[in-house]
């Protein structure tokens, strides 16, 4: 599912955001980046926060070469 479609689904639903977000599988890195760029106090932030809850972004550990 694209992030744009997930945000549209979440921002227009009258269902529980948690319940709907659990069914939205999106790219966690994309969610994290969008959350950092989003304007506070916007519907996008509300949707992204709940998406991030179920699509947590874990940065890849840096590998140091010996």
């Amino acid at each position: 599912m694209t992030l744009k479609a997930a945000i549209k689904t979440l921002s227009t639903t009258y269902q529980s955001l948690d319940l709907v977000a659990q069914g939205c599988v999106v790219d966690a890195a994309e969610v994290d980046a969008a959350l950092k760029a989003a304007e506070p106090d916007s519907v996008d932030v509300v949707c992204l926060q709940v998406l991030a809850k179920y699509n947590p972004y874990v940065p890849k550990p840096k590998v140091t070469e010996k």
Binding site: T13, Y14, D41, V46
Partner: protein, 173 residues
């Protein structure tokens, strides 16, 4: 948006609602958005009225939240049993207001109660100085009664039943 870092000692709450006869309630996500959503109902000034909202003059704002729902399990051999929270219902708000047949908000509420299927966004606003913390929820009105006993001023009593999961917190700063 950050919650104001302040304890509101004995804050007073007020009730607002969408002013349209056939309103489109805010979506679940928008119930947590102040700018252009909840602020449109409450107003950008503390205790003001937004362009899409109207204040409801009520005697008091009752408790809101969720009703207790738990299952009690007996565990053999254990001194104590176990209580597990289960699916809970939103708390219904039974509200008393002075009855005024010319009050626009009460007429809307009466119309909602007659219909029974009108979903409307209500906002409970807690105000401290110029700042507002808002609890917004969608609900339907029922049990509208007018009590006009001669011994006291006429009043109306109604109950708002919040829709499940449709609530959100927001604030102006």
């Amino acid at each position: 948006m950050a919650i104001p870092n302040k304890v509101m000692t004995g804050f007073s709450a007020s009730l607002f609602m969408q002013s349209g006869a056939t309103p489109t309630p805010l979506t679940t996500a928008n119930l947590s958005v102040w700018t252009a959503q909840v602020a449109g109902i409450v107003g950008t000034v503390a205790n003001g009225t937004g362009v899409t909202g109207v204040a409801v003059n009520v005697e008091a704002v009752p408790a809101f939240g969720q009703d207790d729902a738990m299952a009690n399990f007996t565990i053999a051999g254990s001194r104590q049993s176990d209580k597990i929270p289960t699916q809970s219902a939103p708390t219904s708000l039974t509200i008393t207001a002075p009855w005024n047949p010319a009050d626009a908000s009460l007429l809307l509420i009466r119309g909602d109660a007659y219909s029974g299927v009108v979903d409307r966004t209500f906002v409970i606003a807690a105000v401290d100085g110029v700042n507002t913390v808002a609890y917004a929820f969608n609900g339907r009105v029922s049990q509208f009664q007018i009590d006009s006993q001669p011994s006291a001023e006429a009043k109306c009593v109604f109950t708002i039943h919040p829709r499940g999961n449709q609530y959100g917190w927001s604030n102006n700063t």
